[in-house]
């Protein structure tokens, strides 16, 4: 899958990402239980993956390849992301 290298600007929680933008997943904070990190992994939400942010209310909804995933703010806030300014692919 053709993907440009992420252009790193800074680290922010997923909840702060603007809807309509693409971000790179950088880390999972301690606020998420290991079993839920495994669950996120199984949806393809892993470090280094570029995801699209579809909306932030009432929950965060992201697009991972062609999978829409809804995340409650408590989870989304514990996921670190970096904005991707290069062309998006999601």
């Amino acid at each position: 899958m053709d993907r440009p290298a992420p252009d790193v600007i800074g680290d922010l929680p997923l909840t702060a990402a603007e809807p309509g933008t693409a971000v790179v997943v950088t880390r999972f904070g301690s606020g998420i239980q290991p079993s839920q990190i495994e669950q996120l992994f199984s949806y393809g939400l892993v470090e280094g993956r570029v995801i699209g942010v579809l909306r932030q209310r009432p929950v965060t909804v992201v697009l991972i390849d062609h999978t829409e995933l809804a995340l409650e703010p408590a989870i989304a806030a514990a996921i670190g992301v970096q904005p991707q300014t290069a062309s998006t692919r999601c």
């Binding site: 899958m1 053709d2 993907r3 239980q33 290991p34 079993s35 839920q36 990190i37 495994e38 669950q39 996120l40 992994f41 199984s42 949806y43 393809g44 892993v46 470090e47 699209g52 579809l54 909306r55 209310r57 009432p58 929950v59 909804v61 697009l63 991972i64 390849d65 062609h66 999978t67 829409e68 995933l69 809804a70 995340l71 409650e72 408590a74 989870i75 998006t88 692919r89 999601c90």
Partner: protein, 654 residues
């Protein structure tokens, strides 16, 4: 449907083809294509998770197994455990991994685990049409070379690629793909291999795959090793501890990450995605359904449509047609005439067509009153399920459910509970975590009326006044929220935040909806009709030996003194224990003898009263005898307490 009850001799020859894959990738549709079978749901040993099994169309000696959708392996949910058990216990000819062509990376992350178990396999990239419409192009030939197994692009709904798949199944191959794990993990795998060998442990699955599943804490593999290795299990645990000690992160995450990176590297060479291609209409419809502003009017519209279809058409028109005209006018008079003519004794006549007759009460209830209501309910439920709306509903109701210690996923069993609480109790398995299942089960047992009961309640209160209906709704929802709020604070453990996939919104496929409805109706009838007959028989015996009047007498202080209902209402509560709608109908039969306030008090109490026997048995099965007893001990006093309070408030206001 040509169901094969898995004859042991055939399985021993390895004639089973197992479909394995993520949820919502079209496995069941492919199962139908391969077998001609729509529903052949059987309980898998040790669990009630549904595994379908049927004879293959393409090979009369083979059978096809449709395993529940798995998010990932190692198993973390009951569905995943059932899938692992199928892999461990069946002597498989081939594993057919069914994946979503448009989500190749995710599909391959599951492949990465399956390739390690040493079973011949093929990969099916289903929903290829959706991938094409999203501009996702997979180089199938290249992927075949990379994986060393046959790969097929299919559109199971239209049958595209299915003939190629059945013809190519014979080429199933054991993948030989080097997925390199960190050195400490590889050392752990070798140590576990040595333990297996030393203790003479053999399995149909490759030792490397078993070792990886054990390292990732798969509960089924762990249980199997504990049982089979016996003394050697300690050595296996030590080997795992050594690997764990090499990493700061939990081992399952380390292993999962390796598989994802491998999947990513394969996907990058075998697929390309030309710009964002998700169809905007489906995406927008899905987004609108969870919009903080538009989501609620859409929900109200859905609820209204459901009320019109189930409440008005099902519980009104259909019930009237079937109960009054068909049963009341034609069938029951004929059955009564026949029995009265041929019955050897009057008690036999009473047993079959008397007041508590097996036919006139039990079967008439099950077929004439309940069946039309649950049929329409399950049809409506199937439409919502197939459209992808339910996941959206879990998003917009998430905040509400957070008040009662749950997350929005609980909306599915709760709504299903409005159809049949027994079935919904089983469905609490979709919730992650025992605490969530416990709270949801308790709340459903307490305050979610099933469709049959709801039909009777709506009919009775509707005849009283709209205000009475509103008062009943407020009482029941109030108790639900208050009990949930308390339960969330009293039951130890943390609330699990919502994480849920939102499948694409699509127009429901009639075949899918009918298939699911038929499966649910079959389950319902098989469960319910015997219970109705047992319940009716119990009532007949109680009445015959004169115990019913004594129960009525014993319940008098509570029913008459506290609730202010006529003394005969005690019988309704006895019936209510057999089935809640039985109880409601017992009150219904008293009809004009009740004042509007008595009707409201009776309906509130009977709604909150213990769930039916079938639900209680299901709670025992899912939660254990101790918890089920504790729930009943809480629910019964609560029902009478609330009923009495409603009476008291009602008297103050009138």
């Amino acid at each position: 449907m040509s169901a094969i009850p898995s004859p042991a001799a055939e399985i021993a020859k390895g004639l089973t083809v197992a479909l394995v894959g993520h949820p919502n990738v079209g496995k069941s549709v492919l199962f139908h294509r391969l077998t001609g079978s729509y529903v052949n749901v059987s309980n898998y040993p040790g669990t009630t998770v549904e595994v379908s099994r049927a004879g293959a169309r393409f090979d009369r000696t083979a059978e096809v197994l449709d395993t529940p959708g798995v998010l990932a392996l190692p198993a973390r949910t009951d569905d995943e455990r059932a899938a692992t058990r199928a892999l461990l216990d069946e002597n498989l000819r081939s594993v057919v991994q069914v994946g979503d062509a448009k989500n190749l990376r995710r599909t391959l992350s599951l492949t990465a685990m399956l390739v390690e178990i040493g079973v011949p396999m093929v990969l099916v990239l289903n929903m290829s049409d959706e991938a094409r419409s999203r501009n996702v192009h997979v180089d199938v030939a290249r992927l075949e070379r990379a994986l060393g197994i046959p790969v097929f692009a299919t559109v199971a709904t239209g049958g595209e690629g299915v003939a190629e798949l059945t013809a190519g199944l014979a080429r199933s191959a054991v993948p030989r793909i080097p997925i390199a794990y960190p050195p400490a993990v590889e050392q752990g795998i070798e140590a576990l291999r040595a333990v297996f060998q030393r203790h003479g442990f053999a399995s149909a699955l490759a030792p490397r795959g078993l070792a990886l599943l054990f390292l990732a804490e798969d509960p089924e593999v762990e249980a199997r090793l504990r049982e089979r290795l016996q003394d050697g299990f300690t050595a296996a645990l030590e080997a795992r501890d050594q690997v764990r000690a090499a990493f700061a992160e939990p081992l399952p995450q380390i292993l999962s990450r390796v598989r994802h990176h491998w999947a990513e590297s394969v996907a990058e060479t075998c697929a390309r995605s030309e710009r964002a291609g998700t169809p905007q209409t489906a995406l927008r419809a899905g987004q609108l359904a969870i919009d903080p502003v538009w989501g609620w009017p859409i929900l109200l519209a859905v609820l209204y449509a459901m009320y019109e279809f189930v409440g008005v058409f099902g519980a009104g028109t259909l019930v009237e047609l079937v109960e009054e005209h068909l049963f009341g006018g034609v069938i029951n008079p004929a059955v009564s005439g026949f029995v009265e003519r041929w019955s050897p004794a009057s008690w036999v006549t009473d047993l079959i067509v008397g007041d508590y007759g097996l036919w006139t009460m039990g079967m008439t209830y099950a077929l004439a009153l309940i069946l039309p209501i649950v049929t329409t309910f399950f049809l409506a439920f199937g439409v919502l399920e197939d459209s992808g709306y339910f996941s959206r509903l879990s998003v917009i109701t998430n905040r509400l459910f957070s008040l009662i210690g749950l997350n929005g996923r609980a909306v599915l069993p709760m709504v299903l509970g409005l159809g049949c609480v027994t079935m919904a109790t089983l469905t609490t398995r979709i919730l992650h975590g025992q605490r969530d299942r416990l709270i949801a089960t308790f709340l459903m047992a307490l305050a979610i009326p099933c469709s049959a009961q709801l039909g009777v309640v709506l009919g009775m209160l509707g005849a009283v006044s709209f205000e009475a209906l509103v008062a009943w709704t407020l009482c029941v929802v109030g108790v639900l929220l208050a009990a949930g709020w308390l339960a969330a604070r009293l039951i130890p453990g943390r609330r699990i935040p919502l994480v849920t996939e939102l499948p694409p919104m699509r127009v429901p496929v009639a075949g899918n909806v009918l298939k699911k409805t038929a499966g649910r109706l079959k389950w319902y009838l098989v469960e319910v009709i015997p219970l109705f007959l047992i319940g009716t028989f119990a009532m007949f015996v109680l009445d015959r030996v004169g115990i019913l009047p004594r129960i009525i007498e014993a319940g008098e202080p509570l029913v008459t003194g506290w609730l202010g209902l006529p003394r005969e209402a005690s019988a309704a509560f006895v019936m209510g224990f057999l089935r809640r709608d039985f109880g409601a109908t017992g009150l219904f039969a008293m009809g004009a003898a009740l004042t509007p306030l008595q009707t409201l008090v009776g309906m509130v109490t009977i709604t909150l009263f213990v769930p039916c026997i079938a639900s209680v048995l299901m709670i025992v099965k899912e939660q254990g005898m101790r918890i089920a007893a504790a729930m009943l001990a809480l629910i019964m006093p609560t029902a009478f307490l609330v009923g009495g309070v409603v009476r008291w408030i009602g008297q103050l206001l009138t």
